[in-house]
């Protein structure tokens, strides 16, 4: 699936991608583990189909603008009386290079770069998957920074579980980039 929009296009991570280029990606938060993942692990996961990593590039100069990974997952409920699974896709390691953060026109309703990429490049991939394979939600473990959480909720349409503290209802092995991460989900239908 080739996807492009505006000045950007998607490329799969492959062995041809220069590791130094991946290392020089400038994250916006202190996400050293995200960079570590991209440089050290992502190619292995790509080969073994444990995660699929996409690079977003600038058509004008090939710059690496953003990256993200997608993998199939389930949201399982399990107790003594019943169990069921919600099919889903997990978005991991989504980050935009700092240098692409600022856009020319910045007002309240201006589309931010990450927002543009999410709606016009990431979601089309997820929707394409969901047309072929049952998939109810997209979910993410976000770094637990209030500003970032609000961004995911307001701008990207993610939701959090309301009125219940995470630790009371689920167990999970935390992502490597943040032990205090926040579970957010986005219904696809």
């Amino acid at each position: 699936m080739t996807l492009e929009t505006g000045n950007y296009y998607l490329e799969h991570l492959s062995d041809d991608v220069n590791s130094y280029e991946l290392k020089m990606f400038r994250v916006q938060y202190e996400e050293t583990q995200l960079t570590r993942y991209l440089v050290k692990i992502a190619k292995k996961h790509e080969k073994t189909m444990l995660n699929k990593t996409y690079l977003v590039r600038d058509k004008n100069n090939g710059n690496l603008v953003a990256r993200f990974s997608l993998k199939n997952a389930t949201l399982p409920y399990n107790d003594k009386k019943s169990s069921f699974l919600i099919p889903a896709v997990e978005l991991t390691h989504f980050a935009v290079d700092k240098r692409y953060k600022l856009t020319a026109s910045q007002n309240k309703t201006s589309v931010k770069t990450g927002e543009f990429i999410f709606w016009n490049l990431i979601l089309p991939v997820v929707r394409d998957i969901s047309e072929k394979v049952a998939c109810k939600d997209l979910f993410i473990f976000s770094i637990n920074a209030p500003k970032l959480i609000n961004y995911y909720k307001n701008r990207l349409g993610f939701q959090e579980i309301e009125n219940i503290d995470d630790k009371f209802f689920f167990e999970y092995a935390v992502p490597d980039y943040d032990g205090n991460c926040k579970f957010l989900y986005l219904p696809l239908v």
Binding site: R99, E115, F170, V189
Partner: protein, 54 residues
């Protein structure tokens, strides 16, 4: 480690997963206008990164 295996559990887990099952896409001033707003998105002008020369 890069594992995100989740298990919803107990009464609270059931409530939580029901929220997910019954939820609908968010409709707000941003999500309902994204298509229109995307048309006016202008990518930042960033010079070519020169790490390929390394």
């Amino acid at each position: 480690m890069n594992v995100t295996a989740i298990v919803f559990k107990g009464k609270e887990g059931k409530k939580a997963i029901k929220q997910i099952l019954n939820s609908k896409p968010v409709r707000n001033e941003y999500t309902t206008t994204i298509e229109e707003r995307s048309k006016s998105y202008v990518s930042p002008t960033v010079p070519a990164f020169n790490y390929r020369t390394k």
